[in-house]
Amino acid sequence: MKTLNFEDLTQVRKKAQATLSVRELSYAAADESSCGLAVGTEHIQLLCCGGTGCKASQSQKIVENLKACIEANGIADKVQVIVTGCFGFCEKGPIVKVMPDNTFYTQVKPEDAEEIVKEHVIGGRKVERLLYVDPKTEKTVSDSKHMDFYRKQMRIALRNCGFIDPENIEEYIARDGYAALANALQGQTPEEVIDIIKKSGLRGRGGAGFPTGMKWGFARNYQAENKYVVCNADEGDPGAFMDRSIMEGDPHSVIEAMAICGFCIGASQGLIYIRAEYPLAVHRLKIAIEQARNYGMLGKNVMGSDFSFDIEIRYGAGAFVCGEETALIHSMEGKRGEPTLKPPFPAESGYNGYPTNVNNVETLANVPIILTKGADWFASIGTEKSKGTKVFALAGKINNVGLIEVPMGTTLREIIYDIGGGVKNGKKFKAVQTGGPSGGCLTEKHLDLPIDYESLGAAGSMMGSGGMIVMDEDDCMVSVAKFYLEFTVGESCGKCTPCRIGNKRMLEILTRITEGKGTMEDLDMLKTLATTIKDTALCGLGQTSPNPVLSTLDNFYDEYVEHVKQHKCRSHQCKALLTFTINPEKCKGCGACKKNCPSEAIIGDVRKPHIINPYQCIRCGMCKSRCRFDAIQVF
């Protein structure tokens, strides 16, 4: 097809907006009355999540079944099935949404497709059993707007995820897509655009929170024959998947932002560094890049202007350290992925020695909408120093696992209890780990902290890329610190001494403590090592790697001391510290424990209380799981 110029883009947008009107309407609808062909709805769209998580739960099959059923009933002209990106409410996936009444069906199975089509789409009757049940009121909620999970969210970076078809550029265009780029090319100077980004207060969402506008300004100021825009899609924090979701659900927002950045800094080449373990994101990006080229949004003379820009995808092998921008650049150059000292910053000497601007996916996804809605709008959201919203991946012992986006300044309590639905199984909240392996564990006393870059840093954690893992009373904080350190030790590039050897030694000490072999000197040594590593490691990853240890030492010191002095793990997580005994009053002498004990540690006669030989016991817990009389006690 012929590539679009500015005028064509407006025409395409108008046309595409008509298709999207069914969905746009649904967001405005006030009541929850059903739509359905039988009640006179003329046009219905079924949105089905096509993110990695829901796909793993057979959402592809759901789509096929829905389509087949629609076909079989001869209503294909009125009813469309659209595969979207992630809705965020992964706990309840796969999700199917019916438009325009915005009915939110949860945990849908492929075999439910027929019922949805026949009952709802045709009959206009909601399928009650697939509706979300509010755990507080125990009533069904059909419109996602009214769910606690969504009510406090504000979706800016995720604005199109779960709403548009990511494989259709026109749906993106309908949502004012490529308008910011067109605007910039049609009359703004790069400085003006950079100025808007600066004024908006947007900061890097990858972790460190460096002001994006300033970063662009630096890259613009260096003169060179080549410059590069790099999108850092090497999302590596355990449990974090916001970047993947954006690329899967709204790839064009990233592409548009990269082109805008290219225009601002004077680059004509963009590179997306993405880990190869994100095949779906890669697939969608490839489609999006191809479509953007066909529509003239990428390539030579973008939209007929003087500006040319194209994007290439570069694959990473998934090393955590390659999320660090200098390591990322070395990896793209085909070198060993390890950081080098800054300065020189990539803005001066980056990819192949040329000025390079590296931004994270979520940062980029914010850019187009800032430009269309204005810096003031964005700056009005959030806290004094952290503007806009942040996407968090909620995980761990929380009821509503998923991807959420909230304004900066939202408290941890709102996130965990209102949006997240509280701690699973009514257990007691113990800690929340933010910022992945570089972050720290925050406690009860931090729950009312309005979160932004500064407040999290001051509390001994960090924003990071937005992982948020909730822990309850069953979690041992020493083991948690050990878990994160195991990750860091495994992912250290090995370049600098503190990270290469220091983290290894810290892990050894933590292992000793969890095995009951720790000493009080070990605790001092941990503190010394953690402080030294923080003070001396070469890159940001090394410098922040002791955070999980430092924050747990600060907030849960008594638990460490308990492990060391009393050889006790109050959460019963450290196996080596457990003692299994049989309560003779409860034991009926049935022999089930004895029969199943793999180490023959249990002795006793039939119908008489049994006993466990502590020297032979391997603390596997088999006896406890087999006892029907709750006679096995663990200390």
Partner: protein, 588 residues
């Protein structure tokens, strides 16, 4: 203050430095020696490693969140730096303790004991305990090649060897393998050196701060041979050895110890103390003749003659082109290296003269070089399995032997080398430096070609430490274009040009080590101090100047050898004994 100058405060001293100066360099200016380990900067050559990875040089910069590596942090205006605050000292000590926790700490039996940079730092930091020891030790390989010993358990991961192998030599054998605690510096896939295109230049050994990379030690074997009454052990020390050996005994760098060297070898029990310098003069005779031979053909319009002709006395360079430029093997001169020529003559001409059978003779070369050890083992330098040079020891190994033999080196009297292979000229002495072989060859080629006496014996144009130097010499109207290069990365530039048909020289000299043999991997460790190399160079040129004979073709022993035994340069006999051939050794 000048525009490009910055003022800052280090440990309460105000210092003014040019922009781009690191804190480490600025400190040095005012006598503050910040400890370093991974860092090396052999100024004046391209040997440089600045990864800022050991973190032992960290300093406190006011207003900065964390500590800054002094080796790689540029000075900024009004910076306030503390290099010895409690925070810095604690951090440095902890890092050193961490390094020790993954190090064998078998210092007493380590070949680098007392010459180890880590050991010095441990002493300097007053470390008396190793609190982090007892944990896991990284598993790393050991290897014994003919030239280099690798014991990577001792590696402290400074990556100097990697920098040198890649950036200075462009050989690219060494790199980081695996990650995190398991990282090791090794050839790709953790292969062995012997399975790679390693040239055994040994520059990795020359910069290794610890005992991870050392020379293959032949001192015990030499001791055995020296005490064996059935063996006639003959020493031949290389030109560059005598300008560095003294350093091992506390003498000033640049002290020429030629006379003491001969005496010490005699005291060690060598039966004959000859001189590789004789071999160097012989090399000039053969190589010079070959240059003239090829030039004549070239001038006569012979299209097949390989021009430029390249020197071939550096064994690492020979390995390099056999590995990487098998298509250009016709260019290097077929002349053997001085040491091998010497060996071949010793075990034929000399053996005959002295009436000793070849098998009883042990020729030991004392070299500034590790690749020579590999060269000795080449099959083409053996006659029925008996090598022309039995083995080669480095300058450092000789020093160890002298110390072990209770010889007080500094008080030894001077003595001369034995006859008939002990006489040499100034031309041979300068073989030890980059440009030296070229200069020696030019002295002879000029006189033989033009039939006139050189008006000015020094060829200043080919001297210096510039990586690639070129000059045009007027040979009676014929402009002879010559080029001199040192380090293999510069050699690669030249060879790539040659391959592309863009090289416009007649004669090219290549030395693998920075500075030539004075910077050889078998020399006393320079520990990054370029002044040591400079001092050796000055001593070497002084030796040349002080010689009565300064042109190889004027060496009376050489003239005698041709008269009595070889006939003339490039005769059939000379060809058989003094020339070699090269083969394709590329890694497939």
């Amino acid at each position: 203050m000048e525009q490009n100058m910055i003022q800052l405060t280090i440990d309460n001293h105000v210092v003014e430095v040019p922009k781009g100066t690191t804190i480490l360099e600025a400190g040095k200016q005012i006598g503050i020696e910040i400890p370093t380990l991974c860092h090396i900067d052999l100024k004046g050559t391209c040997v440089k490693n600045k990864p800022a990875s050991c973190r032992l040089c960290v300093v406190e910069v006011e207003g900065r969140r964390n500590l800054a590596p002094a080796c790689a942090t540029d000075c900024m205006p009004d910076m306030v730096v503390h290099t010895n605050s409690a925070r810095v000292i604690r951090a440095r000590k902890t890092i050193a303790e961490l390094i020790l926790s993954d190090h064998p700490n078998d210092c007493l039996t380590c070949p680098k004991c007392s010459d180890c940079e880590l050991q010095r730092l441990v002493m300097r930091f007053n470390i008396r305990k190793m609190p982090f020891n007892g944990g896991e030790q990284s598993e790393r390989k050991r290897e014994l090649t003919p030239a280099i010993t690798r014991n990577m358990e001792k590696c402290i991961y400074c990556r100097r060897c990697e920098s040198v192998c890649n950036n200075v030599q462009s050989v690219g054998v060494l790199g980081a393998v695996r990650r995190g605690f398991d990282t090791t510096i090794a050839p790709t896939f953790d292969k062995m050196f012997v399975d790679t295109n390693c040239t055994y230049c040994g520059q990795c050994v020359a910069v290794c701060p610890v005992g991870a990379l050392t020379e293959r030690d032949y001192t015990d074997q030499l001791m055995d041979d020296l005490t064996n009454p059935d063996k006639v052990v003959i020493a031949q020390p290389a030109p560059a050895v005598r300008f560095a050996l003294g350093e091992e005994f506390g003498m000033e760098p640049g002290t020429s110890v030629t006379g003491k060297l001969a005496s010490s070898l005699r005291s060690l029990g060598f039966d004959y103390v000859f001189d590789t310098d004789f071999g160097a003069d012989l090399t000039i005779m053969e190589e010079g003749a070959e240059i003239l031979h090829r030039l004549k053909k070239f001038l006569a319009g012979d299209k097949d003659v390989k021009i430029p002709i390249m020197t071939s006395c550096c064994p690492a360079w020979v390995n390099f082109y056999e590995h990487e430029y098998p298509d250009l093997l016709g260019h290097p001169s077929s002349a053997k290296s001085p040491a091998q020529m010497f060996g071949a003559i010793t075990k034929t001409y000399c053996a005959e003269k002295m009436g000793i059978p070849r098998e009883k003779i042990v020729v030991v070369s004392i070299m500034p070089c590790l690749a020579k050890k590999y060269e000795c083992a080449r099959p083409e330098f053996k006659v029925d399995g008996n090598p022309d040079v039995d083995y080669s020891i480095s300058t450092r190994e000789l020093a160890r032997l002298i110390k072990r033999a209770n010889i007080r080196f500094t008080q030894l009297p001077d003595s001369d080398f034995d006859s008939p292979l002990g006489e040499s000229t100034g031309a041979a002495a300068i073989f030890g430096i980059t440009g030296g072989v070229m200069e020696a060859a030019l002295r002879t080629v000029y006189e033989v070609y033009t039939g006139q006496t050189l008006p000015h014996i020094e060829f200043e144009q080919v001297r210096g430490f510039e990586g690639i130097r070129e000059a045009t010499i007027d040979l009676n109207g014929f402009p002879l274009k010559v080029c001199v290069a040192h380090t293999l990365s510069n050699a690669r530039k030249i060879m790539d040009k040659l391959r592309a048909g863009e090289l416009d020289y007649h004669v090219v000299e290549i030395m693998a080590c920075p500075g030539g043999c004075i910077g050889g991997a078998g020399q006393p460790y320079h520990h990054g101090n370029f002044e040591i190399l400079n001092a050796r160079r000055n001593a070497l040129y002084a030796e040349d100047e002080g010689k009565k004979l300064r042109k190889s073709h004027e060496n009376p022993d050489i003239q005698k050898l041709y008269k009595e035994f070889l006939g003339e340069p490039m005769s059939e006999k000379a060809h058989h004994l003094l020339h070699t051939h090269y083969s394709d050794k590329s890694i497939k």
